[in-house]
């Protein structure tokens, strides 16, 4: 019977076991940190250009035009993995107080505590949690939308509409129910559904 070769002749088996467990733990603990340092293996990082257009529309009872407007102050970034869209991600921040409809009194109302309460909740954020490709240039983006201090899971549809050099642009649409965010004022005179239509431009 040949003697078993021990890697560390001065240690007994119990010591070796606990040491290897410790090593495994350290590696596992470090892994997410390493992943976080490299957002995704072949991803490109884009800053959202302030020229992006964040449009929204709320329908109204009867045949009137409803309310349409924009959030001119938008920031954030996205990371796009060309080879594996599912490893892409996006984070967008809108300034609630920048909401504009072209009618000053409606803007004041939307910014007030009747709707966005922009003083206490200055930011509306969206952080993607999952990107599901739906075609060669399109994907469903799931994530957490936070508005007026309420966070909820929502989904948007994104389509790549333009890319070249350091630029990339997406057309993003999605319907959001406003009542769960504590913004149900005016329902059903004005629809519960807010339809977003956005042109997100990114620069590397």
């Amino acid at each position: 019977m040949t003697e078993q070769i021990k890697p560390f002749p001065l240690m007994d088996d119990a010591m070796i076991n606990s040491l290897s467990r410790l090593t495994a733990t350290l590696v596992l603990a470090a892994a997410p940190a390493v992943l976080a340092l490299q957002p995704s293996y072949a991803a490109n990082h884009y800053r959202i250009d302030p020229a992006s257009h964040i449009g929204f529309h709320v329908g109204q009872a009867g045949d009137g035009a409803g309310i349409s407007g924009t959030f001119p102050e938008v920031s954030g970034s996205f990371d796009i993995d060309r080879n594996d869209l599912a490893h892409s991600s996006v984070a967008v921040t809108l300034r609630a107080g920048s909401i504009t409809t072209g009618q000053g009194r409606i803007d004041t109302f939307l910014r007030s505590n009747a709707v966005f309460d922009a003083t206490n909740h200055p930011e509306i954020t969206f952080r993607s949690t999952r990107v599901v490709p739906t075609g060669p240039k399109s994907a469903t983006i799931e994530g957490i939308l936070t508005a007026r201090g309420q966070s909820r899971k929502e989904a948007f549809q994104a389509t790549l509409v333009d890319e070249g050099g350091a630029r990339m642009a997406f057309h993003v649409t999605g319907d959001i129910f406003r009542m769960p965010y504590g913004m149900g004022i005016g329902v059903p005179i004005y629809s519960n559904v807010v339809t977003f239509d956005m042109q997100l431009q990114g620069r590397r």
């Binding site: 109204q60 009872a61 009867g62 009747a114």
Partner: protein, 188 residues
């Protein structure tokens, strides 16, 4: 009590219409005032506006019915002792009150129609009442608001006089009794 007015008393329909319109109208004045006093709470203000508009349209509909009804009804005669000046004052007050129940909601409708906010009038969330065909502008909205407010507060003063006269005549029938809108004053 008869459905229709008789020679000496108001019938059931007149009384029902008088009191539903009177109660709604009297409630509508503080409600209108509150739409102006709640600017610090825009969500509440928005809801109060919508209640005010819906109630106002209800008053308008009832007022039209009421005026049609009173045009096709005989008017009960004042008791023979009534002084002609009192009769005349009462008739004028009644005509003015009836006119107010049309004019005030109509001017309110004009505010909603000319307002650049173009907020739909969704009658008790049941049916959208279209805007009057009027040019939309801040200045038109301001003018109709002024007129609406003056008429409404003017009507409040008229109502105080009218109710005062009714109470006065109820207490002192010898002053020349009114025909009585009150249930217990039913007379054939």
């Amino acid at each position: 009590m008869m459905w229709r007015n008789t020679r000496t008393a108001y019938g059931l329909v007149s009384r029902l219409l008088h009191w539903t319109v009177a109660l709604l109208f009297i409630a509508q004045i503080p409600l209108g005032f509150l739409t102006q006093a709640t600017a610090q709470n825009p969500a509440l203000q928005f809801d109060l506006y919508q209640w005010h508009k819906s109630t106002g349209f209800l008053i308008l509909a009832l007022a039209i019915l009421r005026i049609l009804w009173s045009l096709t009804s005989r008017k009960p005669k004042e008791p023979s002792g009534t002084k002609p000046t009192m009769q005349c004052a009462a008739h004028m007050a009644h005509a003015a009150l009836l006119t107010m129940t049309l004019a005030i909601p109509l001017t309110g409708w004009a505010i909603a129609s000319t307002s650049p906010l173009q907020i739909p009038s969704f009658f008790f969330d049941l049916v959208v009442i279209p805007n009057l065909p009027m040019a939309v502008s801040d200045s038109a909205e301001a003018i109709w608001s002024q007129l609406h407010a003056w008429l409404a507060y003017g009507a409040a003063a008229l109502i105080v006089m009218h109710a005062g006269a009714a109470v006065f005549h109820a207490i002192r029938p010898e002053a020349g009794s009114l025909h009585g809108m009150l249930p217990q004053r039913s007379r054939r």
